[in-house]
């Protein structure tokens, strides 16, 4: 239907109108986080695809690409895959997650503890 080739990959990347907020002091950090998060997402996609392949192989022994594309998890498999993604997110988000704990419980620097231990 289109006269010219429509580059949907480029079009999918279009920027939303409106100045993007800045979250970090260095603008390069914004770009690096966006790349990193895209990779974090794609690793999850790969893991889910692997899970599909494993489940299909368990069930059928031999599979085709069509089998992968059309795979639909049943309720139990859906829950297990959700838990798998959750576990993955908790693992890669360990740093920010620990920031919450740090906020809950302020702790003295180990250097201070070290000095204290010499005295007790």
């Amino acid at each position: 239907m289109t006269d010219q080739v429509f580059d949907w990959m480029a079009a999918a990347n279009k920027k939303a109108k409106g100045k993007r907020p800045e979250y970090f002091d260095d603008p390069e950090d914004e770009r690096m986080l966006s790349i990193l998060m895209a990779v974090v997402g794609e690793v999850s996609v790969l893991r889910e695809r692997m899970d599909t392949v494993e489940r299909l192989l368990d069930a059928k022994g031999t599979i085709s690409r069509d089998d992968i594309e059309s795979y639909t998890p049943d309720k139990e498999a859906a829950y297990e895959r959700g838990a798998m993604i959750r576990e993955y997110i908790y693992r890669v988000m360990r740093g920010p997650h620990q920031m919450v704990e740090e906020l809950q419980q302020a702790e003295p620097p180990v250097e201070e503890v070290s000095k204290e231990l010499k005295e007790i």
Partner: protein, 414 residues
């Protein structure tokens, strides 16, 4: 030692994108496109549930004490809290992750939709061509409040066209609601519309409105359940954006809701309809996407075209009343400044009751109620509440409503 074994634990995980229902113009996702939304849905749960509480901690432990020390007083409003919080490393990082999640949702949704744009446009044409239930009007201008920035960081917003006459804006908006709400709106993202059906059937059993007007309908997901529940009612759904209406019409037709007429129209001027034309006039999660001047005009026009004993109903987030803590106001404001919702903050600071009285209602006609998305709990999660609430995204809304001159009608009948 806890006796709980891991297999007995029920973790809060998002449903898979496989579980969404397909309709006649649904994009067909590939395996990996499904997996992208599965990741985002669970990531959004993590951001609101596991990381979200860090914002309050950062405020209580760091930001507020520093503010008090520097200014010798408490913050006066949500804006002062925002400026102070934006300098906090935890809040900045959380915001950066959340913004990236939104941008990824747009990229992932658009990539899925634009890859198959020709097929989607062809499917939509089958439902749209030659039907008098879709009326587009190129004279309707995109209002400034829709064009100033791309709302929700959606490239092209509701009115953008990648190819002439396409439906991609609608298809992208429709599919991505799943990722943003982690499935909180159910299989067709219509849990809000289904909640309205339940609400009205309880509120006024047996009521049969003649005509209903849905303003700012987008993809019509909130109106289709009502149209199916009231098959003899004539539904008019309006929006200013043609691409989203093309998609909404095809979507509704494919779901069997043939009693909705989708019309490209701006609700600030409803002059094509006479006074008292409708028994029900509503907006759902729309008024915050208008402007300070447009909102009163829309409500006034809605009042004019509403018949006596008719219902006006606006579904929104709760307003920022004095009773709401400033910190909660600040959190609810996140989307205003980080998700391109430029009128969000001002709108929620309005007193909707005052706005409705200015439009013509008596104050004693007004009511407020809460509406929670109705979804299949077997598959889709309960709307998060309390600590885990993702302010502004949870499938729980506040409704401002009124029955026009209902007392007079009652007295006249007696």
């Amino acid at each position: 030692m806890s006796k709980t074994v891991p297999s007995d634990q029920k973790l809060d995980v998002a449903p898979p994108y496989n579980a969404v229902a397909r309709h006649g113009v649904s994009p067909q996702p590939s395996h990996d496109e499904i997996a992208r939304f599965d990741f985002l849905a669970n990531f959004n749960k993590f951001l609101s549930g596991a990381l979200g509480p860090g914002n309050q901690l950062a405020y209580d432990k760091r930001v507020l004490p520093a503010f008090l020390k520097e200014n010798g007083r408490e913050p006066q409003d949500r804006f002062e809290i925002r400026h102070a919080m934006n300098d906090d490393p935890f809040h900045s990082f959380w915001s950066a992750l959340k913004r990236n999640s939104m941008e990824m949702r747009q990229q992932n949704g658009r990539a899925m939709v634009l890859r198959q744009i020709d097929e989607l446009n062809a499917k939509a044409r089958q439902y749209n061509e030659g039907r008098d239930t879709l009326e587009l009007n190129p004279e309707v201008a995109v209002p400034r409040y829709q064009s100033a920035v791309d709302i929700h960081c959606m490239p092209g917003s509701y009115h953008g066209e990648e190819l002439s006459g396409d439906v991609s804006a609608g298809a992208n908006y429709d599919c991505g609601i799943f990722a943003t709400t982690a499935g909180g709106l159910g299989a067709l993202s219509d849990g809000g519309g289904q909640a309205l059906v339940d609400w009205i059937k309880k509120e006024r059993p047996g009521w049969q409105p003649r005509r209903m007007l849905d303003i700012g309908t987008t993809v019509g997901h909130n109106i289709v359940p009502l149209a199916l529940a009231f098959p003899d009612t004539e539904f008019i759904a309006i929006d200013t954006a043609a691409p989203i209406l093309r998609y909404a019409h095809a979507r509704a037709q494919s779901l069997g809701a043939t009693n909705i007429k989708f019309i490209q129209s701006n609700a600030e001027d409803l002059s094509r309809w006479d006074d008292g034309t409708f028994d029900w006039v509503q907006t759902t999660m729309f008024l915050h996407e208008t402007s300070g001047k447009a909102l009163p005009k829309i409500i006034a026009e809605g009042y004019r075209v509403l018949a006596d004993n008719g219902l006006m109903f606006h579904l929104e987030q709760p307003e920022y009343s004095d009773a709401m803590p400033l910190f909660e106001q600040f959190l609810r404001d996140w989307d205003a400044f980080n998700n391109n919702e430029p009128f969000w903050s001002s709108m929620h600071a309005l007193d909707m009751k005052d706005e409705m009285v200015k439009a013509g209602f008596d104050r004693d006609e007004l009511f407020e109620t809460g509406v929670r998305a109705v979804v299949d709990r077997e598959i889709f999660p309960e709307a998060p509440t309390g600590e885990d609430e993702d302010h502004g995204r949870a499938a729980f809304w506040h409704a401002y409503g009124a029955w026009k001159n209902a007392d007079q009608m009652q007295e006249a009948a007696e």
